[in-house]
Point group: D2
Chain length 345, copies 4
């Protein structure tokens, strides 16, 4: 069970659009350097010349293009770590899988901060926290029971998840102390798996019809764009809350605003079809919406954790062990995600 | 272990300022009636004549005056249940203790709803949820990291409690999934007790200096009015959050607003020195304050739970068993509380 | 919220049948002494003369007789702390209640150690741990599945409690990670209370019929001696497990041995009708019984905790605050318990 | 997010040394059949002829030989599911990884039952449960404190893990209610990962020196055979407990028995160098050892779960999704495991 000595590795680090200083502290960089040699490239694209100079790297960290030609030249390559939260089409994944090259991203760093905001939003919609604060500033607040005519509590409430990836799995434990009944719809996961984390597997319709709070945490894939529309919102309970913290692309945003505007459901969203949001976007004036400027995951602490997870997995890979801290691209699913590159998510 | 048959009891119910219909549903009233005879008085004070007609009651439910003279006349009396959340000076407590009369209130019904709002407020202050929503409506929002320059997360953060009564004990489990280090200051509880619920006993100063979030959940007593003032707030960390959900009387409200106005600390409060709050109260325009109109406990569900807890304890008392669901007045502490009657808290 | 200075108190400590050195360490004694004056009496009964010399004590610690006459002479008395786990008939309780004298015992110190053993016993009966070890020593062990023909797992199993006092409440959290459905029968507690700790209130019959593991944690009262007999055991599931860790008096021990001997149920017990158990007691040779010599609570660590809880509550009482660490005698129930004095439980 | 229609699959099921009827119930088989065609082979080896007849299978379930030649002929093959708990040398893994063939085993089914026994063993060693039962049968039992001279409790104790794979991760939550300090040594996992499940990363020496209970849950690899020997046991605390539930090969069994025999440490083991254990194996007569005949994982319920996990992952794979319920072979580690085939573990 002892770790045998390892040959020196070469690490190529070109973290654009992130900056090295934003994601790695000195000790992280020292750990990377301790693996062998470290070449850092910042300030411009990874040109073919730059790539050639680093083609012998064992581990490449960044988001630069890795088409088949580059992959075939990278004969020592063991892993590519994207210091962003998505798998992008910059890489020829089939070649990576065939050649045994691990492809990783750092999406786990966003799970906790986004889960925290999602819970805060759910409590806010249930209990009217930001709305009452707004009324206070408008001198129109009411007090006590009069402020709570439509309030509900999360305790022992029905809650539902649409999607149950890393983000949902980070929200579920936050709900445990509230004694909620948790249903989840995720067509990529077997019922047995959902049960193992304390959720009841359910159809999309059941989640929508039975839940007082619905967390939408599904990523956008080639198959689910806009799959939550007027038909789905109309299945929701009167006054139920929808918390959207994954991608705007999974909902029909216009329909969602319609339902919020007429008070049919309550909505909180951290994501929008276009960001920055146009000044005349009508969501800005809907009383029943809680608006968050794509800030749920964007904590400095999350950025720092990008560095730490990257280094931890680089160390494992250099020792010939499987990665443990980053998200690992799976051959079955990586091609289905349709995220557009986000400059800084 | 079987319950022996009980003689019929007389229950006198005069729940003002609450209404019977607000706190008891039909099944609750049926259970009360099953105990023996039930007399309900609503619509005016409990005059001496009305009291005389019910002086033989075994259990009295309400907030009417119970001076020594009335207590001495109530020779069958086993319990007085106040369907409010405080022990008020309407009762001669020493006589009750001497005569073996249990005095109860229903404060436990408020613990969960207030704890939920307290957590929502803490997340809001940490992550800027309502502030960002406000900026959105003002068309001044920023995005992603730019919105988060002063954000922090609750995960693995230091948190402190001032007071650790029923309310604090309801908040602590909600924080558990965040992996926080929890300190508590409560001079009425031994360190060993605080440790038993997973808190580190600490001085007031340590709680203030070391916590990123401070929950003020102490009730007002004869000894602690305004005990949190400028000296105490100046011990807090730059940018730390104060969540006040018990009584306005424990803080120097002016000093608290000063510290919030200059951005030295963040403040959320559900209580105010005067309610309704005057239109020109400066808190209304302080960006770093989150204002809640005494709504944290005032849920309809809490009102319904008042009835259920009252009935459950009335049943136990009628069977000669100790109450289990309401707050029981303790001879050592009941006289120290200085709550003013709240019409509907 | 500050603690005002307190006048010096007098503490009288006569802990027989315990010894001072067994339950108090130096720092505990120092804390007692810091309250005022401390008189320790060991090595013989508390005679009238000795009592007279200490009748002015504010707090008395021990198990000596406190009839009405002594209580009336003890005009400063605020509390009697029995450093044992039961309320015994050595005290005139009604006088104490009338005079506002708190009566405490230290039963909470036994809850954790007994709960731990109860869980260990439940796993042992379910999985055959000690039985397989016995077969190993007899050279008759079987392996793998062959050893497990009647094994079951606690995971997601039905479990039931008979009684839900301090001990049951200490067992419940230990079961939480197993995802069990927990039913509880306790006629002294309202259904609402049982639900608040995650149990389903149930009748005795339902607990017996539906549970794969039954924990008997009820104390003996004037009403429940031997209430678990052949009729009750015959309601249990074939092969279900009974774990008895409170008092032998609540079961018909002969009937219980009958059911265990014929393999109808599995039984673990820490208590016996007579201790020491006679050499020819047939339980000793029943394969389906797990026998524990009243050792579940008798840990040195529990003895040390007696001192710590005693001191913590003495400090509170000296400051005019309610006790928090010991069990407080309740007027409704104290007379119902029928424990015989146990020399060292 | 909808599941598109899938072409029919061919499933080849040859589960020896398991029997189909032991691991699949009717509904499981019906689900397998619903995927397309199902060919079942029992009652003899998978000869080349039988293999040829099924070489077009999409999913193969069993433990038969899969050398490169067979793999190259299996052009539709997406996954091989071994219905045992180990990865054996029957498969040419590098060819599988290159060709994108998933290799799975069902080790997760054993994690819960073994964790349960491991906890039961730890409590047993700490509290002397089976030893006291043995003394009872020998008429040599002592009572109360006299039975507990060397007992300790798990509550708030230091505990350590050697290895932190699936099994350790199943034990950790069972310990949570005991408030233990948990250290873990696992050279294959980064400190950050161990922290994320609530463990303190530690060296092997620290785990041994600081823990009152040590769980040995490491599998045997090419690098760690017999790595726990006299030097390591001598680092352990006097009277500390060692619970061995993974593989006998990781310890020097003779040295372990020496330390147990002289009372230096307490030992519980579910595994032995040779099974069945010889009649004269000295462990049988060591008072400080708890012996379990490789029964910790061998529950019928675990066998049934083998079928359910196998079917769930077969369904996912047939739909083009990644497996979620079985253990997935990783290219970095699969070759390091050195388990010998176990007929029925």
């Amino acid at each position: 069970m002892t770790a045998s000595a390892q040959p020196p590795r070469h690490i190529f680090l070109a973290p654009a659009p992130r900056a090295v200083a934003d994601i790695f502290d000195d000790s992280d960089l020292a750990r990377l350097r301790a693996l062998g040699t470290l070449t850092i490239h910042e300030g411009g694209p990874v040109t073919d010349a730059i790539f050639e100079a680093n083609a012998h790297a064992d581990i490449m960290i960044g988001q630069f293009d890795m088409p088949a030609e580059r992959l075939e030249r990278a004969t020592h390559l063991r892993a590519i770590i994207n210091v962003e939260g998505n798998f992008l089409p910059n890489i020829d994944y089939p070649v990576c899988f065939r050649n045994g090259v691990r492809v990783l991203n750092v999406s786990p760093v966003f799970a906790e901060p986004v889960a925290e905001v999602a819970l805060g939003m759910a409590i806010d919609l249930a209990r009217g926290i930001s709305r009452s604060d707004r009324y206070f500033r408008q001198r129109t607040e009411k007090y006590g029971l009069d402020a709570n005519h439509d309030a509900f509590t999360l305790y022992r409430q029905n809650v539902g998840f649409i999607g149950m990836g890393d983000l949902g799995r980070a929200i579920v434990p936050l709900l445990a102390p509230f004694g909620m009944r948790v249903r989840a719809y995720d067509p990529w996961l077997p019922p047995m798996w959902l049960e193992s984390i304390g959720c009841e597997p359910a159809s999309l319709e059941t989640v929508l019809r039975e839940s007082q709070v619905v967390f939408v945490v599904a990523g956008v894939t080639s198959e689910n764009q806009g799959f939550l529309g007027a038909d789905e919102f109309s299945m929701m309970r009167e006054g139920a809350a929808l918390v959207l913290v994954s991608r705007a692309g999974v909902v029909d945003f216009e329909a969602m605003m319609d339902f919020a505007a007429k008070g049919r459901i309550r909505v909180a969203t951290d994501v929008f079809p276009d960001e920055p949001v146009p000044a005349d976007f009508r969501a800005r004036d809907i009383d029943g919406m809680l608006l968050s400027p794509h800030q749920a995951g964007a904590l400095e602490r999350a950025l720092r954790e990008i560095g730490k997870r990257t280094v931890a997995d680089a160390e494992l890979i250099a020792r010939g062990l499987p990665p443990a801290m980053c998200k690992v691209a799976q051959p079955e699913t990586v091609a289905r995600f349709r995220s557009k590159p986000v400059s800084k998510s």
